[in-house]
């Protein structure tokens, strides 16, 4: 045999014998039937300052599903303790949606969120939501319907449609760390054993300070500079439904950054209208536009006041103080400014389309 072959075989034999010297560590394979990838977590604080984590296992149709929960001082400890209640290892790789109790949100969410962020196996697209009420009994009753998968699909649907707000881990952390924005999360309530979407939970840094109702949530979405399309927009004052609304928001600051002009341009189709406007809509639509504008402006003012009281800039208005060349606010200075800002909100409403039928004049 040539020298090279002998050298090679010798080296391999030496390596083979040397493997006896190392500490054997059996790689922990994630055989998919031996793990219980949980999809939904529900986190709430207990009376003695612990965190309790509830989850549903397994997401397999043929086996009996059950709810397991455990509590510990830390979130990771609680997650690891879940394994004691089930014969498969609970893995967080497929974690898709986390419901956080309102009481825990009021205390400050950063530790919980940070734990999720630092775990490399959890995706950044984790849906977060704040819930108030008895989530556990709700999960218990709806266990048979694969509620965790249903909720995830619902969140997915909401995200793609844009009608009901969703928030994920990445955007929460981005707005938490940013000096110009504060985070917000969708807010759910358990009523009559049903999970009902009830608005937005508004945060100041990481503590929940206020919740917006559904009505206010609509204005919030209208005002938000990055939300540009609304499928259905009801105007409650006039009992009007607007469809396919496209909004463009412009934000201008005065030189001293004491006043801000927010002008929102809406263009939409007129969906349904009531209140017996027996006259021709094609003649009266300008009046209608004015009415809608004024009602929206009124509601927007109230919303902004509420946000300023809650000391939370969820709309991200502070971002627009940055121009190409300067960045006037650093650190916490924008937060101090936010409560004393004077808002000047204008809406400009145009109808793209007034509907198919043509209203004939009454004879």
């Amino acid at each position: 045999m040539s020298f090279l072959k002998r050298y090679f075989i010798f080296t391999m034999l030496v390596c083979l014998f040397l493997t006896g010297c190392t500490k054997h560590r059996i790689p922990n394979k994630n055989y998919i039937e031996n793990i219980a990838p949980s999809v939904l977590f529900y986190i709430r604080p207990t009376d003695d300052d612990n965190i309790e984590v509830t989850t549903i296992v397994p997401p397999i149709k043929k086996e009996e599903r059950k709810i397991i929960k455990s509590e510990d001082r830390t979130l990771t400890g609680a997650i690891l303790k879940l394994n004691a209640n089930y014969f498969r290892e609970v893995k967080t790789g497929q974690l898709r949606i986390v419901f956080i109790d309102k009481k825990l949100a009021e205390q400050g969410l950063f530790d919980v969120i940070n734990t999720f962020f630092r775990d490399p196996s959890i995706s950044q697209r984790l849906y977060l939501a704040v819930v108030e009420g008895d989530m556990e009994s709700f999960l218990n009753t709806t266990l048979k319907e694969n509620i965790d998968i249903f909720l995830y699909e619902k969140m997915n649907f909401n995200e793609s449609q844009g009608e009901i707000l969703t928030q994920n881990l990445h955007y929460f952390l981005k707005s938490y760390y940013s000096t110009y924005e504060d985070p917000y999360l969708p807010f759910y309530k358990i009523e009559n054993n049903k999970l009902v979407y009830s608005g937005i939970a508004v945060f100041n840094n990481d503590a929940l300070t206020d919740t917006l109702t559904l009505k206010e949530e609509r204005i919030f979405r209208l005002l938000h500079p990055l939300v540009k399309y609304h499928k259905v927009l009801p105007i409650t004052i006039c009992d009007i439904i607007l469809l396919n609304t496209k909004t463009t928001t412009k934000i201008d600051f005065s030189n001293s950054y004491n006043d801000v002009n927010v002008s929102v341009k809406l263009s939409s189709h007129l969906g349904e209208y009531k209140d017996g406007m027996k006259s021709d809509i094609h003649e009266n639509y300008l009046k209608l536009e004015d009415r809608i504008q004024s009602s929206l402006e009124q509601e927007a003012k109230e919303l902004v006041n509420k946000l300023q009281k809650a000391n939370s800039d969820c709309l991200g208005i502070g971002r627009y103080t940055k121009t190409l060349t300067q960045k006037p606010f650093n650190g916490d200075t924008w937060k101090d400014k936010w409560s004393s800002l004077e808002f000047n909100i204008q809406f400009e409403m145009t109808f793209d389309d007034l509907g198919v039928s043509k209203c004939t004049k009454n004879k």
């Binding site: 055989y31 998919i32 397994p58 997401p59 149709k61 086996e63």
Partner: protein, 496 residues
């Protein structure tokens, strides 16, 4: 460095050592003793000449023997054999070795007893089968004649398509026992002389006893014997070989086999098929793209399944997760063993169907495919997702036109399954990296195997993934370094 001597010359010495006796009737009969097909005919012509005809009956065309040899000899009176038989070429033989050679390759030996001269006439038996359609590659709207086992007929098929004087045909004899004829065909003035010299050198260094098939030669001519990728193109279609020759490649025809070698090739040419040129060019491009995708599917689909179920469960979407979890819990094996077993079963079915007698094949196909597959799923030995994956990857492996590549890709798939079971998605990427490194350094007749990609020739990309219309392919492939690059007559003179 070992310099191998020329095999035929050494053989010549060995045989001529034993055949140094003089050429005579007794020596011929001794040499050809114990051969039932060795015949001898004595002719006494009215003109007083005496001839003895020696031949091997199994090798000559008996009808032609009567017509062109015996009758002219009997009636001709010209005195010597070449003058009597004017229609065919007659060569004089003076050594026993030459006589033996000629007798064994389909000639008759005429012994002129009076003048003590020996003449040989070539009258071989026409044993070829008629020109048939190619079994391996048949296209719908194009010529379907294919090569046969006779080398002269194959040359005819090529010469008819390229009636130019530059089509050169060098002959070699290889194999110490089989003495097979090998023709090296190229277009002079077009082909790069480096390829020619390399090929001739390799042919001269072939040293073996019997050559029955082209695959016997290719292992002598390979640059990399241990690679799984074929470095030569084998085809039994004349139009494929002629288009290869006109691009600037060389081709080798071996007597006794219809498969002809064309060299050099690149990796991307393994995915080309003559059928692409029949369809419209957009359709042809689409078919080629599908072949590349199918190759990737063959390599990666089942290993991806193994990786996801073993290590990377996070990569599944929620619905797929539920499907996979539901059936994985029933299967008793771990994913790697399950994938190996099912892929092996598919291979066994494939190999078995190759060797089955044709009468049993359909029913056994039903048994193997449907019954066993369905029974396996129902009993829980295998899962439906995996069976679907394996079936798709098995079918996809046949999309590559080169059949040698099909089996190679199956083997690579096994390696990938092992790597995926060891390291998950990292293992698959590692396998692709090693494949990339291997392909990168592979050469076919000293030309880079991934030619229009690695030495980047932008013009060649018109015929790799898309199949441009023929008018746009104005130049020959650049990696062949042909002497005349243009196919059209606008710029330079055409080959006349």
């Amino acid at each position: 460095m070992i310099f191998r001597r020329n095999s035929s010359s050494s053989n010549k010495k060995s045989t001529s050592d034993s055949v140094t006796e003089n050429l005579s009737a007794e020596t011929i009969e001794n040499l050809f003793s114990n051969m039932a097909d060795f015949n001898k005919i004595n002719l006494n012509t009215p003109g007083g000449n005496e001839y003895t005809l020696h031949f091997l009956k199994s090798l000559i065309n008996v009808d032609q023997l009567n017509l062109t040899v015996i009758l002219p000899l009997l009636h001709g009176n010209k005195g010597s054999v070449p003058l009597s038989i004017g229609s065919i070429e007659v060569t004089e033989i003076d050594t026993l070795h030459k006589a033996m050679e000629n007798l064994l390759t389909g000639s008759i030996l005429i012994e002129d007893i009076v003048q003590e001269k020996y003449w040989s006439i070539v009258i071989p038996k026409d044993l070829s089968r008629s020109i048939d359609t190619s079994q391996q590659e048949s296209i719908l709207y194009g010529p379907n004649d294919s090569f046969v086992e006779q080398i002269d007929q194959n040359i005819t098929l090529i010469r008819r398509r390229l009636p130019i004087a530059q089509l050169k045909c060098k002959d070699f004899t290889i194999g110490s026992m089989s003495k097979t004829k090998l023709y090296l065909i190229y277009i002079d003035g077009l082909v790069d002389s480096e390829i020619l010299i390399t090929m001739e050198e390799k042919i001269r260094n072939i040293d073996y006893d019997v050559f029955l098939n082209t695959s016997d030669i290719t292992s002598f001519l390979d640059d990399n014997k241990n690679s799984l990728f074929p470095q030569y193109q084998l085809s039994d279609r004349p139009d494929v070989i002629v288009s290869a020759l006109s691009s600037g490649k060389i081709s080798l025809i071996l007597d006794g086999t219809p498969f002809v070698i064309a060299a050099p090739i690149t990796f991307f040419e393994l995915f080309q098929s003559p059928e692409d040129y029949v369809h419209r060019w957009l359709v042809g491009s689409f078919l080629r793209t599908i072949r590349f995708i199918a190759f990737l599917i063959t390599l990666l689909l089942v290993p991806a399944y193994v990786a996801i179920t073993t290590y990377n469960y996070e990569m599944l979407s929620l619905q797929s997760l539920i499907i996979v979890l539901t059936y994985r819990s029933d299967v008793p094996f771990n994913p790697v063993i399950e994938a190996f077993l099912m892929t092996l079963t598919l291979e066994i079915l494939k190999e078995g169907s190759l060797r089955m007698p044709s009468k049993i094949a359909p029913s056994l196909g039903v048994v193997g495919g449907i019954v066993i597959g369905q029974a396996a799923i129902d009993s829980g030995i295998a899962g439906p997702v995996l069976v679907v994956c394996i079936a798709i990857s098995g079918l996809a492996s046949f999309l590559v036109p080169n059949y040698l590549m099909t089996n190679s890709s199956k083997l690579i798939q096994f390696i990938f399954i092992g790597l995926a079971g060891l390291w998950g998605s990292f293992g698959i990427i590692l396998g692709l990296l090693f494949l990339g490194i291997h392909l990168n350094s592979l050469t076919s007749l000293d030309r880079s195997y991934i030619a229009p990609l690695a030495p980047f020739y932008s013009k060649d990309w018109k015929d790799i993934i898309i199949r441009s219309p023929i008018q746009y392919m104005k130049t020959r492939p650049e990696y062949l370094h042909t002497q005349n690059k243009n196919r059209t007559s606008r710029r330079k003179e055409n080959i006349k």
